[in-house]
């Protein structure tokens, strides 16, 4: 057992609150005098709005306002920005205007057309039904490859051929040369399907406006308050940033989806300003399916070149990314920048080339979802490795063994500088856990029951950081607690516990003394919020810097109190002592004394607090190897996941219990993507066929075996804690491990190609196609 708190699997401080129903979410919070907003949404995938008549709705009882695109235009509101920067080729990224409410044209089912504000949500809903919109339907296209075909229905005049961008990264000449000389080349066409993050708490927000100051207050279920505030202030309302406060109470999961500025927040703020009263909106899950953002939605062709011994020579990815109807804030960045940090995974591949085309379609916008480009990159890489093993007759473990990066630092062909890792150890330990020698007997046992068994193993590499830099602070409060102030944000990950563990060790105080202050632009000067598995890496680094600054100040005060020189003091276990004596003072006593200017050194401001901006921009490289074992019922195509094992490296573990929880959740979502989840639009009509959980299949507890998750710790020097991001990894790792197992089970039946999700229908069809040709 480690000496301090860091490294201990403490139960979460926040659990008591969450488990006893005392968490506070936006929907739980009521504002005096509040009004309720409901969004009228487009039933068409693509249509011209010929006329909109809201007179009857406005006259209905309890209705306070009906806002339309024209109203927001008259108010002078700007479109929602897309701050993503993408290194495009052949022209800049095209960012069409995304207004909070549609103007003249709707471009996906669920797009907001009007916002009704009334005394109750029911009255607002009644009024929304009374709004008459005359739509002139236009042809729609819902698949990205089809959208890029000449003559496809056009979404934006400014984006001919529905092309938003072309992206290219890598050395084309070297890649082509490597393919030309290769002993083996394998190629695969793969679809990384569109999925929905489906946090248990749908989006919700309450907006207020203070006419006296002209200031806005937006309370929301979000993950990135500063970004949302900045975008609202800079681009939409064109106000000084300090005039808008954005803050969050408890947030019930986000997975990336809640990072973004959404049209509904603009509608709410506008309505609150017009009406002078708080306005709330709570989405239902169908609205989330229709009109939040989806994830992944990338497809294309991958090729891998190998020499005769199976050494990887080059990788080429030609992808098409579906952006949906608009550029969501990080939408164009995920399949390009983010994808190309992780493609090639943990392997040494001397030449790589990534080409991506971004397409507009008549669907909900696509943006970051747990992993955001890296699951797509790793899935492509690992499927290619499996394909190479099968086609060229290599043992899949041996093939990986031969190609893993073993010497660090390693600079990848696309310029990523991997500082450290235990890729080979992860593989060896996972392969041992997989019990490959015993698999033949297990397979035979399944076959005796008419089932097909498959064993799959796959590696992953996460490139974790998200937005660079982070801000942190520490402040002793009058009640004796210590506030940890952070620009990152927990929306269920357990930061109240893990960051307290870090601070407790640094300050020599018990974890119970700390309180986490986060997600409030009024309390936290800056921050980049949640996303990219960045919190402990960058936020933890900021906290350590703040702790050092705080201890520096405390040392000066302690020296003053002890009448010694600061350099004569030792600090241990929360106490300063004069070296070689028994004389000392606790940090708590220093904090208490610091309240009184009389006990402070000359010129020092009262109070004990410190803050720090962590300038770090390095990426951490969490990695691991996952094993899945499945059983397929060949008659129905149903798949049972029997075993799941992981050996992962997240650097030093601050709290192994929380780490395991993060990995479990990510793996569950990755399994969901592999076997169950798919957002489905009907071709032609563009109607969403998976608009509720009756049709969108999320994994349930009973679908998952007990996940066996083990850790090997290879600390990184990229932050003072030695930690690597663990938040996204499970979702990055699981899809390829599960699909490798499924394809292994189906190989004897002649199945070689299968896209996710491997639903019973898909698997049955694949078996039938393999049999009947």
């Amino acid at each position: 057992m480690p000496e301090g708190f860091v490294g201990r699997g403490l139960r979460r401080v926040e659990d008591a609150r969450f488990l006893t129903g005392r968490g506070r979410y936006v929907a739980d919070l009521q504002e005096p005098g509040q009004l309720h907003g409901v969004v009228l949404r487009s039933p068409h995938a693509h249509a011209r709005i010929a006329a909109l008549d809201a007179e009857a709705a406005r006259a209905m009882p309890g209705v306070r306002a009906v806002l339309t695109g024209e109203d927001l235009a008259a108010e002078g509101l700007g479109p929602l920005p897309c701050p993503a920067t993408v290194q495009t080729v052949g022209g800049p990224l095209i960012i069409p205007p995304r207004h909070a409410l549609a103007r003249e044209r709707v471009r996906h089912v669920g797009e907001g057309v009007a916002f009704v504000v009334a005394d109750s949500a029911a009255a607002a809903r009644d009024a929304a039904e009374a709004i008459r919109v005359a739509y002139e339907p236009l042809p729609a296209v819902t698949e990205a490859p089809a959208a890029l075909v000449p003559g496809a229905p056009l979404l934006w005049e400014e984006a001919p051929g529905n092309l938003a961008f072309r992206f290219e990264k890598g050395d084309r000449a070297a890649t082509e040369a490597a393919f030309a000389d290769a002993a083996h080349v394998v190629a695969l066409d793969l679809v990384n399907q569109r999925v929905h993050a489906a946090p248990i708490e749908p989006r919700a927000a309450i907006a207020r406006h203070d006419p006296a100051t002209g200031g806005f207050d937006l309370l929301l279920a979000g993950q990135s308050v500063h970004n949302i505030r900045d975008q609202l202030a800079d681009a939409v309302f064109r106000l000084p940033r300090e005039r808008i406060r954005v803050h969050c109470p408890d947030v019930g999961g986000g997975f990336g989806l809640k990072n973004f500025l959404f049209p509904e927040y603009v509608m709410l703020l506008s309505a609150a300003r017009r009406l002078g009263r708080p306005v709330r909106w709570v989405a239902d899950h169908t609205e989330e399916f229709l009109a939040a953002v989806h994830g992944r939605a990338v497809q294309g062709r991958g090729r891998l070149a190998l020499d005769a011994e199976g050494r990887f020579l080059a990788l080429h990815a030609e992808m098409i990314a579906d952006l949906g109807a608009y550029c969501s804030p990080a939408g164009p960045a995920c399949p390009t920048n983010s994808f190309s940090t992780a493609v090639g995974g943990p392997y040494a591949i001397p030449a790589m080339l990534v080409e991506v085309r971004g397409a507009f379609t008549n669907t909900a916008p696509v943006d970051a979802y747990r992993g955001a480009g890296k699951p797509e990159a790793n899935y492509l890489t690992e499927r290619l490795v499996e394909e190479a093993a099968r086609r060229c007759g290599f043992d899949p473990v041996e093939l990986r063994r031969r190609n893993l990066v073993r010497h660090f630092p390693y600079r990848s062909a696309l310029g990523m500088m991997m500082d450290c890792g235990r890729f080979a150890e992860n593989l060896e330990e996972a392969a041992r856990l997989a019990d490959r020698p015993g698999f033949a007997a297990r397979r035979a046992e399944s076959e005796a029951r008419g089932r097909r068994r498959g064993l799959g193993l796959a590696c992953f590499l996460e490139t974790a950081r998200g937005a660079p830099q982070e801000w942190g602070g520490l402040r002793f409060e009058a009640d004796g607690t210590v506030s940890i102030l952070l620009g990152t944000q927990s929306n269920g990950q357990g930061h109240e516990t893990s960051f307290a563990q870090v601070a407790a060790d640094r300050l020599g105080l018990p974890v119970e003394r700390f309180r986490l202050v986060q997600a409030d632009t009024a309390a936290i000067p800056r921050g980049a919020g949640h996303g990219g598995a960045r919190s402990l890496h960058l936020g933890g680094g900021a906290l350590v810097l703040a702790a050092e600054a705080l201890l520096g100040k405390a040392r000066a005060i302690a020296a003053h109190l002890l009448q010694a020189a600061p350099s004569e003091l030792d600090f241990a276990a929360g106490r300063f002592t004069v070296r070689g004596t028994e004389r000392g003072v606790t940090l708590a006593a220093v904090a208490e004394a610091a309240r009184d200017p009389a006990s402070l050194p000359e010129g020092m401001a009262p109070g004990l607090a410190a803050e720090a901006l962590n300038p770090e921009d390095r990426v951490t490289f969490p990695a691991g190897c996952h094993v899945a074992e499945v059983e397929v019922d060949p008659e129905t195509g149903a798949i049972a996941l029997l075993r799941y094992q992981a050996v992962d490296d997240y650097g030093r573990l601050v709290n192994p219990l929380l780490t395991a929880g993060q990995v479990q959740g990510g793996v569950a979502q990755g399994i969901g993507q592999a076997l169950m989840e798919a957002v489905a639009y009907e071709a032609g009509s563009g109607q969403l066929l998976s608009a509720s959980f009756m049709d969108y299949c999320l994994p349930r507890a009973a679908d998952l075996p007990a996940l066996e998750i083990g850790f090997g710790e290879c600390p990184t020097a990229s932050n003072p804690l030695g930690v690597k991001g663990c938040g996204q990894a499970g979702a990055i790792a699981a899809p390829q491990a599960v699909m490798a197992a499924v394809l292994d089970a189906l190989a004897p039946l002649g199945v070689t190609a299968l896209d996710m999700p491997a639903t019973p229908l898909r698997v049955w069809q694949a078996i039938r196609t393999a049999r009947d040709g």
């Binding site: 129905t636 998976s690 969108y696 299949c697």
Partner: protein
């Protein structure tokens, strides 16, 4: 949800009176189908007539060769009933596997059968056993009761009161669930009655539960899974959605029938 009036009558006669007086009123039992529809504003009844206080609709009784289940018997009641478990174990198992625990604690057999959702479980047992539907005014044979998607022989204002199941010699049920909703994608209920009659009812696959005559014939001659293993169901007219094409459902008819016979023993 739109506004509606609420009534809670104490007898079948009073309930029927309320329903006859207002053609836009609807009976409600467990509410597991009707309430979600109301919440989504898919339905706009003027009034709900809550049947839960009517004693005549409750209870499970075994009399001779007949098992009678009151319309208000919840799925959990059927699953745990000693009478059902001993007389028609396949029916108890079916009830135990409907939806989830919350649904089984509220949903009723009367509501399910009156609703006749193509993806519901009970209609397969009712048709597969050749049960009799007892209403406030008449008795309807299962073969005449299920008329199409969400359509039954019930007249406006007519209440399902109980279902009389003949106790079979053997019966079995197998289903493939829709992975998302967990409703039935395709199911088969097979029974050999004491009269010697063999019945096979297929649910989930088509717009309405239906009998599979070819399988009935084959099983009459040879009660074994092999007897149905090579009988192909035509996909024509079967349901097709993102979870299962008509071809897939047609294929599952054979697989589920085979498994149902194996389960029946």
């Amino acid at each position: 949800m739109y506004d509606f009036a609420y009534h809670k009558p104490g007898s079948v006669a009073d309930a029927v009176k309320l329903l006859t007086a207002d053609p836009e009123a609807r009976p409600i039992s467990g509410g597991q189908t009707l309430l979600p529809a109301l919440k989504h504003r898919l339905n706009r009844p003027t009034a709900l007539v809550d049947l839960s206080g009517i004693a005549e609709l409750k209870g499970i009784r075994k009399e001779g060769d007949t098992l009678t289940i009151g319309a208000l018997a919840r799925h959990v009641d059927v699953a745990e009933s000693a009478e059902v478990t001993s007389a028609i174990p396949a029916l108890a198992r079916m009830a135990a596997n409907i939806g989830d625990i919350q649904v089984r604690n509220r949903g009723t057999i009367g509501g399910s059968v009156a609703n006749n959702d193509p993806a519901a479980d009970y209609p397969a047992a009712v048709l597969g056993l050749g049960a009799t539907i007892v209403t406030d005014r008449r008795r309807i044979a299962a073969d005449d009761f299920f008329q199409g998607m969400f359509t039954t022989a019930l007249e406006p204002g007519e209440l399902l009161v109980a279902i009389e199941f003949p106790i079979p010699e053997k019966a079995g049920y197998a289903k493939m669930r829709n992975p998302a909703s967990r409703y039935v994608m395709t199911g088969a209920f097979v029974a050999r009655l004491r009269s010697g009659e063999v019945r096979v009812a297929i649910n989930g696959a088509g717009p309405c539960v239906f009998r599979q005559a070819e399988m009935e014939k084959a099983l009459s001659a040879n009660w074994s899974p092999e007897a149905v293993a090579n009988i192909r169901q035509s996909p024509e007219g079967l349901n097709s959605d993102i979870h299962g094409s008509a071809e897939y459902r047609a294929h599952l008819v054979t697989v589920m029938a085979k498994r149902a016979v194996a389960e029946a023993g």
